[in-house]
């Protein structure tokens, strides 16, 4: 049981790391939003499940955090993307340099 929880924690930490790596490596701000939000949401959910395996009596609070995360994180990232698009930031295309938009 504890081992399963640790595997979930490792998975979550790995996906959080991948999200941060995507933020550094992706070429423009829309790609960064996409990489960061998706991978980090999945990683955080896995971390919460892992903590729940360690302490089964914490499930209600963990469920509240997970529900809040699933509600707010996509809304926040799509709000940023919409604001950037309305402010006139053009998406990146292959062949142009970074920051030229």
């Amino acid at each position: 049981m504890k081992f399963a929880g640790q595997l979930f924690l490792l998975l979550g930490a790995f996906f959080c790391f991948l999200g941060a790596l995507g933020i550094v490596r992706m070429p423009d701000v829309y790609n960064r939003i996409q990489a960061g939000t998706k991978a980090v949401t999945l990683g955080t959910l896995a971390v919460l499940i892992g903590v729940g395996f360690h302490h089964p009596d914490w499930w209600p609070k963990l469920l509240a955090i997970a529900g809040l995360l699933l509600l707010t994180n996509p809304v926040g990232s799509s709000t940023i993307a919409r604001a950037l698009y309305l402010a006139g930031v053009r998406p990146w295309r292959a062949g142009r340099d970074e920051g030229e938009s």
Binding site: W58, L62, I65, G76, S77, I80
Partner: protein, 95 residues
Amino acid sequence: MAEGVRAVSAALDYAIYALFACAFLLGLWRMIAGPQTPDRIVAADTLGVITTAALALLALQLESALYLDVALVYGVLAFVGVVALARIIETGARP
């Protein structure tokens, strides 16, 4: 046998903490370097969610459910901050 299981468990713990540290460093690097304001806002958003996960991990490490409440409030405040920044971008920071 129990010793081996404990050693593997400790190694997994170190791997988890190292991955979280790397995630924080990469996010902070994008926040410091990253060429324009929108990149910094995206980095702040992602760092907020990673911090929520790290606070849940801290609750596990310190054996205290109180930190889960901290994680919940931190998630709400990060969301509100990101939406406010997005509104500022959208309206061009007019009063």
